[in-house]
Subunit: 121 residues, 2 copies
DNA sequence: CTCAACGCTTGCAATTTGCAAGTCTTGAAC
DNA sequence: GTTCAAGACTTGCAAATTGCAAGCGTTGAG
């Protein structure tokens, strides 16, 4: 679906641009949100309210894996499980900051429970 | 170029999705970065290293204005100046978090000076 | 053994992005 | 007082990305 991830060009050496070159599209950060929320299976991501389509979901999971933010493991039976690596975990603060902005500035957003996406300690 | 901003549909009531519906594309956050960095003119954004094209830049500035993150003012002569509103300013923390992730996890990103994009006090 | 659910892939349409060129104002230089 | 260049865009069309619907190969339960 999208071209070889390893040939992708960076737009600049700016750290913000570099980050967006990896996660700056319409869907990737929402998949990461679900992973931070503890979801691990393809069908769980698919069931989120935004209704990502399967081709995009599968492409985004592959990219996240290639970039090392996610690992794909065998679950029970022949099902797969996707888990965050430290590199993906590390986006938690950025995602929480986006959530905070949404609650403050976008109308009719649901206010998540106090511990939503919070680092389990 | 893009269709009427006021008819755009939200994907869900999630605050993260709501935020991304406004700023979650390839370019918007980079324009915001430049605004936080004090740039105000069309040609200044155009000169950033990522080389945004003029049609996209003009579209993104219009969207940011419609959503109230930016105001467009008459500068000297008949030039325009774009300035952040509080709603746009409020994305600073999220953008700094993305920059921090980039510096930590993306190879060859330039490390910005300590006060880069920092809230002037 | 059958059948439904899971985890995808494929093909094609619609939308968005990218590129190049062109337009309309000033404001400065000659 | 006329050129000319810079700034701020718009337009048209090609290329890339996204969205939709359907299809396919494994399980695992009944």
């Amino acid at each position: 679906m999208s071209r070889d991830v390893s040939t992708e060009k960076r737009r600049s050496e700016c750290p913000i641009a570099g980050t967006l070159d990896i996660v700056g599209d319409k869907w990737t950060l929402l998949v990461l949100r679900d992973l931070l929320d503890g979801k691990t299976r393809f069908s769980e991501f698919e069931r989120s309210p935004e209704q990502i389509t399967t081709n995009i979901l599968s492409d985004r999971l592959r990219r996240l894996e290639v970039h090392g933010l996610v690992v794909r493991r065998q679950g029970s039976g022949r099902r797969f499980e996707y888990h965050l690596e430290p590199k993906g975990e590390a986006l938690r603060d950025a995602i929480l900051a986006l959530a905070a902005w949404g609650n403050a500035h976008v109308a009719d957003t649901w206010v998540p429970p106090a511990n939503y996406l919070q680092r389990p300690d």
